[in-house]
């Protein structure tokens, strides 16, 4: 590799190019953007979970100082503005379509959760808007709240379009074969597994600044989004009914997303609509409580699991019946998360001949639930890995050994699961072995005995996970009900002086694309990484993009870049052949140089770039000037990262306090482009999973009031809740993308919750505890110990 590109290519832990602006306070987030003459929007939200709206009187508010407009749902409806839509719908068991009740931007007739938008005040200052909002008189006729998903079906009706509160009733797998397998099993392990509801909490609250250009008849929306193109598509085509080209969406620096910034929310749409109505820019920024109330929550499943084993403890069948709480309205991925991103993963890393799952997506008077880091796959992994652990305990087998004998053997790939997916490649035992070695699994017994001497219960818990990442193949997702394709685009533009701009549809909000993507280009073209700029987040600059979620940016977006670079090289060869008067077939490109095979003739990449723009003697009939290539990449399959995480805990029985004392993770993400960034992704994912397992919970009371609506009550993991983490890898390269990569963004959040809970149950097994729900709060642990001790004494 030429000088200047050393240690900058694929596989190098290049320090991030994007860091400088963030560490010096020069990041540009949506709330940092202000437009001349901008107005401020303040949304009035429902205080109650479920009510008919009898009357909204905005007269006093409209007369307040500084107020420019007050709008309600009727104003939105009068202009024919639609609400957010669901981007991916499964088909019901009976072949019918799921129910998709409308989601008005501002409530019409009814409010359906605490936080539902009732009206908006737009004023010259936020203070004025807020003050005026207090003058709005809202007369509501309360209806019963429906909070518990387990009892939502057939409860008080929430939408006119849906008499039983069931959005969909979906199935996957062979019910009869599974029933037969369970019927013939030597043992059937049964467990109810609840996946608690959590709140994403990106630290940057959502924000929007919308403006309208009268001359161009064109809107610009700055918004904290993970996918500006989807925002443009949905807002233009389904909500505003304007030509897509008339809406320019910019997602500048975005302070974390974790799924919650995929969706299009009412606020940005209302601001955009109002910007034209008022001919002034309109700005809105959420405060944290609004974020708690209004951002899509995650998880919230209740699963009944049956796992059948033969006499050798090999799994013969699995049945999972799931109730998924989707909240009061649907959003983009509400319905796909508990179905195609969940049911299809129920085979895990295991060879399971028969699987059947039924999922009912139910409506409750809570905010919508949608994809949250991992989206469906953490829920699948949690129920499976909890059940695996529970089963190992029931049959008296070491949980590592029980997993090992049920792993899909490495020579069985490609492996067709009983739930639709075909895993291209994997090898699960080495990751298990390595993780066990990293945490010194063999000597756990002596550590446990030592802890016991100090009066502590020590436990160890495993989680062997798989995920389907690189959420993509359009052909596959299309047959599964997706209303969009899931490819990614890239443009690689080489300037005359050899500098390079890469335009990608993936959006970076912490993932380090500016660096990782540049490494791919630097590596392939043999140019210095500093000569490469990654451009994202602007619909006017990027051809099209599906955004960042589902650990897809590298596997799909990165591959698109790689393919565009290949096209640049191909064109470069044609130019080089022309310049060096050689046959194109004799041209080779390596280490930044075009050479003619068997000769000492060579041209540098820079010379070719310049020549492309100074085409004095190009044969224009077969060679166009310029050096810019576009690629759209639509993969053949998902990618399948997998691995094993092991958590070791120590519990103080006197208080119930859990201390995570060690963590070992061994993941197979295929090839690594930037190991430093990958490791950071794993750290962050683990922290979110640990948060869910020990600390975090969205708590609605029976009236549908969200009691955890600030950091005073919603427990975010802090530095002192987490240990130092040991991370390592095994590698089986993905077989169907050029880079051999699989994706790493969600793995930590997928793998970690069951590892924590399994470790806790292991620790508490000394007193006879067999199960524990999330979050495993200190009180729950104390109570479990008490109850088990009392039971033992009987």
């Amino acid at each position: 590799m030429p000088e200047g590109t050393m240690n900058q290519g694929i596989g190098a832990s290049v320090r991030r190019k994007e860091d400088k602006k963030f560490i010096t306070g020069k990041g540009r987030y949506t709330d940092d953007i202000n437009r001349n003459g901008q107005l401020y929007a303040y949304f009035i939200r429902s205080d109650v979970a479920h009510a008919n709206i009898k009357n909204i009187n905005v007269n006093a508010a409209a007369k307040c100082e500084g107020v420019v407009a007050v709008y309600t749902g009727e104003d939105i409806a009068a202009d024919g503005i639609g609400g957010p839509i669901c981007g991916w719908t499964p088909t019901n068991r009976d072949g019918s379509a799921p129910k998709e009740p409308p989601h008005p931007l501002l409530a019409v007739g009814k409010v359906r959760y605490v936080g539902d938008h009732i009206a908006v005040v737009i004023a010259e200052s936020l203070e004025a808007a807020q003050a005026a909002s207090e003058k709005i008189v809202i007369d509501l006729d309360n209806l019963p709240a429906v909070v518990d998903p387990a009892t939502a079906i057939g409860n008080t009706q929430i939408h006119d379009e849906m008499d039983d509160n069931v959005y969909f009733d979906w199935e996957l797998g062979d019910e009869t074969a599974t029933a037969d397998a369970l019927g013939g099993a030597d043992k059937v392990i049964e467990l109810t597994v609840t996946n608690n509801r959590v709140i994403p909490n990106a630290i940057e609250p959502r924000a929007a600044v919308a403006e309208y250009d009268e001359i161009e008849d064109r809107y610009t929306l700055y918004t904290s989004s993970q996918n500006p193109h989807l925002t443009r598509l949905v807002m233009a085509a389904f909500m505003m009914q304007i030509p897509e080209s008339k809406l320019h969406v910019v997602a500048p620096d975005v302070g974390g997303g974790f799924g919650s910034k995929i969706y299009i929310y009412p606020e940005e749409a209302v601001c955009t609509w109002a910007a034209k109505k008022l001919r002034k820019p309109v700005k809105w920024t959420a405060d944290r409580t609004q974020a708690f109330l209004g951002d899509a929550h995650g998880r919230d499943h209740v699963n009944k699991v049956k796992l059948g084993l033969d006499k050798n403890n090999k799994i013969v069948g699995l049945r999972v019946d799931t109730i998924a709480n989707l909240g009061a309205y649907l959003s983009a991925f509400s319905m796909v998360t508990p179905t195609y991103l969940h049911g299809t993963l129920l085979s895990g890393c295991y060879d399971i001949p028969a699987i059947y799952t039924n999922v009912k997506g139910v409506c409750t008077t809570t905010v919508n639930v949608d994809a949250y880091r991992g989206a469906g796959r953490p829920e699948a992994t949690y129920l499976l890995e909890r059940t695996m652990d529970y089963a190992a305990r029931q049959i008296g087998m070491d949980p590592a050994e029980f997993r090992r004998i049920n792993f899909i053997p490495k020579d069985a790939f490609p492996y067709q699961t009983a739930v639709a997916l075909q895993y291209d490649i994997g090898d699960y035992e080495p990751a298990l072995d390595k993780a066990m070695e990293m945490i010194d699994y063999a000597n756990f017994g002596s550590r446990q005995a030592e802890a016991a001497k100090r009066g502590k219960y020590r436990g160890i818990g495993l989680s062997s996970y798989i995920e389907a990442c690189g959420i993509a193949p359009s052909a596959v997702v299309g047959t599964l009900g997706a209303r969009v394709g899931l490819y990614e685009s890239a443009v690689v533009r080489v300037d005359p002086t050899g500098t390079i701009s890469v335009f990608t549809g993936a959006h970076s909000h912490g993932q380090g694309h500016d660096t990782t993507f540049a490494q791919i280009v630097a590596d392939k073209l043999g140019v210095p990484i500093d000569s490469i700029d990654i451009v994202h987040g602007d619909t006017d600059r990027i051809p099209f993009g599906m955004g960042t979620y589902g650990s897809r940016s590298l596997a799909v977006g990165g591959t698109a870049i790689s393919k565009a670079v290949d096209k640049v090289i191909e064109k470069g060869k044609i130019i080089a052949a022309h310049m060096m008067e050689a046959a194109e077939t004799d041209l080779e490109f390596k280490d930044g140089k075009f050479t003619v095979a068997g000769t000492d003739k060579e041209k540098s990449f820079g010379e070719i770039a310049l020549s492309a723009y100074v085409p004095h003697n190009f044969p224009h009939d077969r060679l166009e000037p310029g050096l810019e290539e576009t690629a759209f990449y639509d993969p053949l399959n998902f990618t399948y990262p997998a691995g094993t995480h092991i958590c070791e805990v120590e519990i103080d029985p006197a208080t119930g306090v859990v201390d995570i004392v060690d963590w070992a993770a061994c993941d197979d993400f295929g090839n690594l482009i930037n190991p430093m960034i990958v490791e950071g992704q794993v750290h962050g994912g683990i922290a979110q999973g640990v948060g869910q397992a020990l600390l975090e919970n969205a708590h609605y009371n029976e009236d549908g009031q969200l009691l955890t609506a600030s950091y005073m009550d919603y427990c975010m993991p802090r530095a002192d809740n987490l240990p130092s983490l040991k991370i390592d890898y095994t590698v089986t390269a993905c077989t169907h993308n050029d880079l051999g990569v699989k994706g790493c963004g969600e793995a930590g959040a997928i793998a970690s919750p069951p590892a924590v809970i399994n470790a806790i149950v292991d620790a508490l097994s000394v007193v006879g505890v067999t199960d524990m729900s999330m979050p495993a709060t200190t009180e729950k642990i104390w109570r479990a110990i008490n109850d088990a001790t009392a039971k033992a004494a009987e």
Binding site: Q130, A131, L695, H699, L707, T708, M712, D713, C715, T777
Partner: protein, 263 residues
């Protein structure tokens, strides 16, 4: 935040007179609770009177007691050599309030005046038999805390300092709420010439309280084991989504044991 006016009081008399002159005057004594409340528009004030320049900061050794000025910030108590030597438990308590940024702003006077049922300081005042000095009188801690968020202070009365008698031994152990990090249960145990005092914060429905049963047991034998037989009545304890009353009762016993062991 609703509109307000801000003024610095130049001394205590000035603060009192400004308070008297305002409709809804509020003293700003660090503001770590008041400002978030005002921001949420859950309170309003036509006049915020900042006590930071009113000459109320400072720690002094008065022989038998340590006197801490009302506007002394938690960080100053935490790091005071004088406090660390005379009443190390008090310095330790201060070091666990909120986070470093809260400790850099919050004051003892503000905390004591607010009497949040989950605040740490009230337990120290009660267990150590502190005296609350105000612009007009001295109030014994036992008479000062009158209920959740309630104190013996008059509307326009200003705390000037708190004096803590030096104990023979003392210790504070806090079991924090995992989210807010306020005390879910905090127990201050003090051993003085007049006996053992056990004050509990974070747990009582009506704010900080002393526990007679624990004190009696510790007075007869000052050891962690001696409280094994003491029942903590949970009917007067708080119950919320973070901890039910019986768990809090259990934690009171556990934190008391730890405090005793650390004395």
């Amino acid at each position: 935040m609703y509109a307000t006016t801000y003024a610095k009081a130049k001394d205590v008399a000035d603060a009192v007179s400004q308070l008297k002159g305002a409709d809804e005057g509020k003293l700003l004594a660090g503001g770590q609770t008041l400002i978030p409340t005002l921001k949420q528009r859950l309170a309003s004030s036509d006049c915020l009177i900042d006590l930071s320049d009113a000459g109320l900061s400072g720690i002094s050794d008065e022989g038998g007691s340590i006197r801490i000025g009302a506007m002394t910030r938690h960080v100053e108590v935490e790091t005071s050599e004088m406090v660390k030597k005379a009443i190390p438990a008090l310095a330790a308590l201060a070091s666990g309030i909120g986070d470093r940024q809260v400790r850099n702003c919050g004051t003892i006077g503000g905390s004591v005046a607010n009497n949040d049922p989950s605040a740490c300081y009230p337990s120290a005042l009660l267990a150590l038999g502190a005296t609350v000095h105000t612009d007009r009188r001295d109030i014994a801690a036992g008479d000062y805390f009158t209920g959740m968020f309630e104190t013996a202070l008059d509307e326009d009365e200003v705390i000037t300092a708190v004096s803590f008698p030096k104990p023979e031994a003392a210790s504070y152990v806090k079991f924090p709420n995992p989210a807010s990090r306020y005390a879910m249960v905090g127990v201050f145990v003090a051993k003085t010439s007049s006996g053992v005092a056990v004050a509990v914060t974070g747990a009582g429905q009506d704010g900080v309280f002393r526990h007679g049963g624990l004190e009696a047991a510790l007075n007869s034998s000052f050891s962690a084991e001696s409280i094994d037989s003491v029942a903590v009545d949970d009917s007067v304890l708080m119950s919320d989504m973070h901890a039910s009353a019986d768990y809090r009762a259990h934690l009171i016993t556990q934190m008391t044991k730890r405090a005793v062991a650390a004395c």
